[in-house]
C-alpha cells in the first residue's frame, strides 16, 4: 500500500492508473461538490453542468454554509453515502471526463467495470469526519445551481485533503467487493454455528 499526493483536476491519465486499491491518497487543488439532485439535473433532465468536469475530482457532499454578501462561507462540510448515486458513474466519465469520485461507503460492483474502462477511481473518505474535512477546504470558490441548495454544484479549493483510501481502482479492483466476498463466506460459517 503506497502513499500518493495528487493535484486535481488532473491532465495526465497516468496519475490515476498508478493508484491501487488500498493506497492512501492526499489531494491538493480544486474539487467539485455534487449530490443526488445535482446529478439528476445533469442526466435525468439533460442540463449540462456550468462547470468544467474534465479531469475532475467529484465529492459527494451537501455542505453547511453561510451566505455572506455574494459568496458562501463554509460552516461544516462532509461527505455523504455514494451508493445512491452509482448509476451516474459511467456517464460522468464518458461524457464529462471525470477521473475521480470521492464519497463514503463505496460503490456497488456495477461501478467497477466502467471505472476500469474509463480510467476512473473511487476514493473512500471517512464518513462523518466533517470537522476535519472542513479544515482541509480552504475556500468555496464557486457555486452553481443555488436553487438546489444544499445540493448545488460546489467548487472548493483544498489543501492536504485526506487521508483518502483508494476503494476502487482503474484496474478492476474493489476493496468493497473483496470485503463482501469474504464476509459472505464468513456468514455461512457463522450460520452453521448458530
Amino acid at each position: 500500500m503506497t502513499k500518493h499526493e495528487l493535484t486535481f483536476p488532473i491532465t495526465d491519465p497516468a496519475e490515476i492508473l498508478k493508484l491501487r486499491a488500498g493506497d492512501e491518497v492526499t489531494v491538493q487543488g480544486h474539487i467539485i461538490g455534487i449530490r443526488d439532485r445535482t446529478q439528476m439535473r445533469i442526466f435525468d433532465e439533460g442540463v449540462a453542468p456550468p462547470m468544467d468536469l474534465s479531469g475532475a475530482f467529484l465529492l459527494h457532499t451537501a455542505p453547511n454554509v453561510r451566505k455572506v454578501d455574494d459568496h458562501y462561507e463554509k460552516i461544516c462540510i462532509g461527505t455523504t453515502t455514494s451508493a445512491r448515486m452509482v448509476r451516474f458513474t459511467e456517464p460522468l466519465g464518458r461524457q464529462y471526463g471525470v477521473r475521480a469520485i470521492c464519497g463514503k461507503g463505496g460503490f456497488p460492483d456495477e461501478a467497477v467495470e466502467p471505472m476500469r474502462q474509463l480510467g476512473m477511481v473511487y476514493f473512500a473518505i471517512v464518513g462523518g469526519a466533517a470537522a476535519l474535512e472542513t479544515t482541509q477546504i480552504e475556500e468555496i470558490e464557486e457555486v452553481a445551481w443555488e436553487e438546489l441548495m444544499p445540493e448545488c454544484l460546489w467548487k472548493f479549493r483544498v489543501k492536504d485533503f485526506g487521508p483518502l483510501t483508494v476503494g476502487i481502482d482503474a484496474h478492476g479492483n474493489s476493496l468493497y467487493r473483496d470485503v463482501q466476498t469474504r464476509a459472505k463466506q464468513k456468514l455461512e460459517e457463522l450460520y452453521a454455528r448458530l
Binding site: A124, A129, A131, L132
Partner: protein
C-alpha cells in the same frame, strides 16, 4: 394558557434548541471510550487509518467548536413526561419543533427536511410530522426529560425489517441481523451501534430498534436473556470483517443494543436500525418550574 405553561413551553424550546446543537458538536464520553477501544483493537491498515481519522476529527470538532458530522440529521427526541408535569404533550411538541427550527436558523445548520414526494424543503429541519418524538409517561412525577438524537441519513437508510416466523426462532433473528449488517457494508459509517427491536408488531419492532440506538454504549437490556443475545450478536457481528467504513477490519460495530416487547404467538418480528459512529445524543431535565439541567443522559 396560564403564565406557568407559557414559561414552561419556552423552557422546553430553549432546551431543544440547545440540545440539538450540543448533540451535533460534542459526542458522549461512552462513545469516545468505545471509539478509543476500537482504535486499540483494530489491526487492518485501512481500519486503523479510518479510526485514527475519526479520532482527529472528534478532537478538531472539540477545538474548533464545529459539528462532528455535516449531516445534521432528522431531529428525533425522546421525552419522558411526568404525570404531574404542568405542560401538555401537545405543547411540549410545539416547543420541540420551535427549538429545532430556532437552532437551525441561528447556528445556522443545514436544513434537511423535504416533502417526501416533491423533495422541496419544508423548513428549518421541521415539516409535517417533523421532528419525530418518542413519548414515555411516568406516573407519580412532575418533571420532563428530553433526549435529542439527531439521526443521520446514511445510517437511517440502513434500516431493515423482517417478519420472521416463530419456527425461525432465535436463530432467524441472529441471521437477519447478521445479513443486514453485512449487506449495509460501509454505507452506515461503521463502526456504530446496531439497534435491534424484537417482538411487538412490525411498526413497534422498528420503534424499539430506534430506542435501542439511543442507549449509552455499555448499557444492557434489563432481561438477562435479551442481554445475552446482545453479547452474542456483538461478537458475531465483529467476526464479519466489514470493518471501519466497510473497508475491511476487526471492528464492525461498537455495540449491539436490543429492545424487546412481548408479541403475538404467531409473530417474530426483527427490526434493525443502525446508528453511525458519530452516535450523537444529548439530554436535559426540565423541572415543573421550568429550570433546565443539561445532562448527557437525563
Amino acid at each position: 394558557m396560564p403564565q406557568l405553561a407559557v414559561d414552561l413551553q419556552s423552557s422546553v424550546e430553549d432546551a431543544a434548541a440547545h440540545l440539538y446543537v450540543w448533540a451535533l458538536k460534542d459526542i458522549p464520553q461512552d462513545l469516545r471510550d468505545a471509539l478509543a477501544a476500537a482504535r486499540d483493537k483494530e489491526t487492518s491498515v485501512t481500519g486503523k487509518r479510518v479510526l485514527d481519522t475519526i479520532h482527529r476529527n472528534v478532537n478538531i470538532a472539540d477545538s474548533e467548536g464545529n459539528l462532528v458530522c455535516q449531516d445534521t440529521g432528522i431531529a428525533v427526541y425522546h421525552c419522558k413526561v411526568g404525570e404531574h408535569f404542568p405542560l401538555h404533550p401537545a405543547r411540549i411538541y410545539e416547543a420541540l419543533r420551535a427549538g429545532t427550527a430556532r437552532a437551525t436558523i441561528e447556528h445556522p445548520l443545514r436544513s434537511n427536511a423535504v416533502h417526501t414526494l416533491t423533495r422541496e424543503n419544508t423548513g428549518p429541519n421541521i415539516g409535517y410530522r417533523l421532528p419525530i418524538v418518542h413519548w414515555e409517561f411516568i406516573p407519580d412525577w412532575d418533571g420532563l426529560d428530553v433526549k435529542c438524537v439527531p439521526k443521520g441519513s446514511g445510517s437511517e437508510n440502513m434500516s431493515f425489517l423482517k417478519m420472521c416466523v416463530p419456527a425461525d426462532g432465535v436463530k432467524g433473528i441472529k441471521q437477519f441481523v447478521l445479513e443486514s449488517i453485512v449487506g449495509a457494508g460501509g454505507k452506515p459509517c461503521p463502526p456504530g451501534i446496531v439497534g435491534v427491536g424484537i417482538g411487538g408488531s412490525a411498526d413497534y419492532a422498528m420503534h424499539l430498534a430506534k430506542e435501542a440506538i439511543m442507549r449509552p454504549i455499555g448499557t444492557r437490556n434489563h432481561d438477562p436473556l435479551v442481554a445475552q443475545l446482545e453479547d452474542e450478536l456483538f461478537e458475531l457481528l465483529n467476526e464479519t470483517g466489514i470493518g471501519p467504513m466497510g473497508l475491511g477490519g476487526d471492528v464492525t460495530v461498537l455495540q449491539c443494543h436490543i429492545e424487546h416487547a412481548d408479541t403475538h404467538m404467531t409473530l417474530n418480528p426483527v427490526a434493525v436500525n443502525y446508528q453511525c459512529w458519530a452516535a450523537r445524543r444529548a439530554s436535559a431535565h426540565v423541572s415543573a418550574t421550568g429550570d433546565i439541567a443539561y445532562e448527557r443522559d437525563a
